[in-house]
């Protein structure tokens, strides 16, 4: 099966800035790495990881040096006789190696506390973009309550601004993780968690569910697309005024197929009679980069593959296999869905 982030940039993706694409091609390898932070939250976390690491490395070097010296210096040699001095202890030494770790840990714990409280702060208010993230088996729903937008698989945020997240789950535990932007926070059914993140610059930051959530856990991915504030505003504008009218004859046929197969009982398409809530909201599907928990590239071909054989890509997904759908119906359906703007 094809994976996302394939670099075949296509003209359809005009909704995403060219800059994003460039950033993507430049560092796709590190896009999901906690070692290449792209925002203040992940930067702060990396700072603490590093601080802890250097302290630990220091201790490790001491231990290994003492160990190595002992092994070489005090190894048994031919002709050794008698016993070495039977030293049973040394209170001063023992107190020393109790106190020194305490001091080192005290050094570590101060910034730890500070960062723990700082990262737990919340900001509400009209000026802060609020996103409600809902984990589903196996896709992510992103709601923008202030903006009246519901989307899936990709979260658009303005770069350089703090974004406040509320995390929920529709079924089991999931964990929301965009390594380059922020550490993870679990989505717990029956509970709302909060976190915030910020992308310092526009770019595409892949994320993934980090808490085991069932058979296709490994396919539960998503992208965070950070855009310049103006591009973000344009995206919001487009999403608030979705164009759901089929433009071609084939697309008109596709809309009928969509209705005929009952797709609308699970999926919502804004501005139509399709208002199902089980699966992802499909409004503006044509502008998205990926499909199906970001496990597929958004191409008409992959879309048809997904509709006809979803369980091959994502075993046990709620999405049924429409394997009996005729080829022409499939093509019509993909034309309709890819035409949603």
């Amino acid at each position: 099966m094809k994976r996302r982030l394939h670099l075949g940039v296509r003209a359809r993706l005009a909704g995403v800035t060219l800059l994003t694409m460039l950033a993507l091609s430049a560092c796709a390898q590190h896009a999901q790495s906690a070692l290449h932070p792209a925002g203040p939250v992940s930067q702060a976390e990396l700072g603490l990881m590093g601080f802890g690491f250097w302290i630990m490395l220091g201790v490790f070097v001491v231990v290994v040096a003492v160990l190595g010296y002992s092994l070489v210096r005090f190894r048994e040699r031919r002709g050794d006789q008698g016993l070495p001095p039977q030293v049973e202890g040394n209170h001063r030494l023992e107190i020393a190696w109790t106190l020194i770790p305490i001091v080192l840990l005290a050094l570590l714990i101060v910034p730890t506390f500070r960062a723990t409280f700082a990262l737990a702060q919340q900001q509400r208010g009209p000026g802060v973009v609020q996103v409600t993230v809902v984990g589903h088996q196996w896709w992510w729903e992103f709601d923008y309550p202030q903006l009246g937008i519901v989307t899936a698989d990709e979260m658009h945020i303005p770069a350089g601004e703090r974004v406040q997240l509320t995390l929920r789950s529709a079924d089991v535990l999931h964990s929301f993780w965009v390594p380059a932007l922020a550490g993870k926070e679990d989505t717990v059914p029956g509970q709302s968690n909060t976190m915030y993140l910020e992308a310092a610059r526009p770019g595409l930051y892949p994320g993934q569910c980090a808490e085991f959530c069932g058979v296709s856990h490994s396919e539960m991915r998503f992208d965070v697309i950070a855009q310049t504030p103006s591009a973000f505003a344009a995206w919001v504008q487009a999403r608030q005024h979705p164009d759901s009218t089929p433009a071609t004859a084939q697309a008109v046929q596709g809309e009928k197929v969509f209705a005929q197969y009952g797709c609308g009982s699970c999926h919502t398409i804004d501005g139509t009679q399709f208002q199902g809530k089980v699966g992802p909201n499909l409004s503006g599907l044509g502008t998205r980069l990926t499909l199906a928990g970001a496990s597929l590239q958004n191409t008409p071909k992959d879309l048809r593959l997904w509709v006809s054989d979803a369980h091959k890509i994502m075993p046990s997904t709620v999405m049924p296999n429409f394997s009996t759908m005729s080829s022409s119906d499939l093509h019509a359906l993909s034309a309709y869905l890819e035409g949603l703007k």
Partner: protein
């Protein structure tokens, strides 16, 4: 390599050695087990206190709990502790008949407690509190039922001692630990009940 310092080997002053008796081992074993059982009930009580707020559409504790019934059950169990103690004392004095009488009384009291609990449970179920009706129901039946199982097991244990005595004759000093072990368990079940009726019934009625 310097020579090791010369020392004389002296044991800590010890008297003549004897192995621990089964009584000593068993009593310690029982105590360790009871300590572990504390953790068991602690986990159940933790579950109860964090779950009992969810009553759903089922009756609430305040609506259900019947203090006179609980008080009766409590006194029955309390009394059984006393009779257990009197039985143990009789055994220690070698008064075989008295021991057997107290054993029977204790078992009857234990069964009466379990019976009262069965009555209580059926009443609640009839009034709409089933284990799957609400999490108050689930955690209540689990916690109190678990204690009931402990009492039932205690009765079975006492019965086994009763049968042992019937078959092997009066409990001699060498077998007294069997009764002692069972009595520790019996008292412990009563101790746990004190905690349960306070946390579940009394506090449940209050708050």
């Amino acid at each position: 390599m310097s020579a090791p310092e010369v020392r004389t080997l002296e044991a800590t002053p010890v008297g003549p050695y004897r192995l621990p008796t089964p009584a000593e081992n068993t009593k310690l074993g029982i105590w360790v087990w009871l300590a572990s059982d504390c953790a068991l009930f602690a986990a159940l009580i933790a579950t109860y206190v964090s779950m009992h707020g969810h009553v759903g559409h089922a009756p609430t504790p305040q609506q259900l709990f019947d203090l006179p019934l609980t008080a009766t059950a409590t006194f029955v169990l309390l009394l059984s502790s006393l009779t257990m103690g009197l039985g143990l004392e009789a055994a220690q004095h070698g008064e075989h008949q008295r021991l057997m009488r107290w054993l029977v009384v204790t078992m009857i009291l234990g069964l009466a407690f379990v019976g009262l609990q069965a009555v209580e449970f059926t009443t609640y179920v009839h009034r709409g509190l089933t284990p799957d009706a609400s999490n108050f129901g689930a955690s209540f039946f689990t916690l109190v039922g678990f204690h009931g199982l402990h009492v039932t097991f205690g009765v079975a244990w006492l019965l086994s001692i009763f049968i042992f005595v019937v078959r092997k004759g009066p409990l001699g000093p060498r077998d007294l630990w069997r009764l002692e072990a069972a009595s520790l368990y019996w008292y412990f079940v009563d101790v746990v009940w004190v905690v349960i009726f306070t946390v579940v019934y009394l506090l449940g009625k209050v708050s």
